[in-house]
Symmetry: C2
Subunit: 139 residues, 2 copies
Amino acid sequence: MGNSFRIGEVAERSGVSIDTVRYYERRNLLPAAPRTPGGYRIFNSETIDRVLFIKQAQDLGFSLDEISNLLSTNGSSECRRVRDLLDAKLTELDARLKSMHEFHDKLTRYLAECEEELKRYPDSAECPVVIEIAHAERA
Amino acid sequence: MGNSFRIGEVAERSGVSIDTVRYYERRNLLPAAPRTPGGYRIFNSETIDRVLFIKQAQDLGFSLDEISNLLSTNGSSECRRVRDLLDAKLTELDARLKSMHEFHDKLTRYLAECEEELKRYPDSAECPVVIEIAHAERA
DNA sequence: TTACACCCTAGACCTAACTCCAGGGTCAAG
DNA sequence: CTTGACCCTGGAGTTAGGTCTAGGGTGTAA
């Protein structure tokens, strides 16, 4: 069927390993999948989307515990709790974005210094950037 | 002296543990510190700045190996190699910033939905956001 | 010259998030 | 009704990045 997948296909389509899918189920990041009479898990396409969501959040610095709190499959999750979690996450994310931008600028300045040096001395071994990072870094 | 620190003070001022400082030295993220006759490490304020740099980069998703590549205390690091590393990091950072902004927007939309629901039904248990995340997530 | 906070090393241990393995069962195609 | 790809479980192993412990030495102020 177009909306029924075995674990291998879920794994492939969401870019994780089979073990990871089972691991997520154990961690309650995915609801316990229904089974065939023989014991095979049966998934639908929503599982794939959900794994993708988990991966994205994780890439952005959230732990599986945090994600699990947000998605909590166990027990009804009142709207108020979710609201508070989201609020906290957003504050955190704002801070991360800010320092990320600053770090980006810092690296950009370093890159410019490198280019400068290489323009002047194409085979320079003494990189001014390394010296700078190594010896004083309070930008 | 104003520019001479023992490991405990370095740790405290840069917000990591003593063990972490020693660990960074072992990993060559910090140059091997000179010692007192009795074997105590002696640091200067640049070490503190460097630990702060490492922590910042790490928070933003860089591994210690990557940071170590950039700072490589072992062997002369030619400017060209540093330039290439920086260039690659910046590309990576751009991508991360982009998906971070998208995720931020997504969470903001979820938060708005929560507020909406709570305005309507102040004690709502059925959070529309959880249902949405759990059941279809391809934004 | 003792008190006591601080430092040393080697090596074991910890947590998160997987990843692998053995030993065995399932299922669809031919 | 067999075969080959795929799936099952329980539990051990792995990696990154620390953290802790035992057993012992250092430095300095009173």
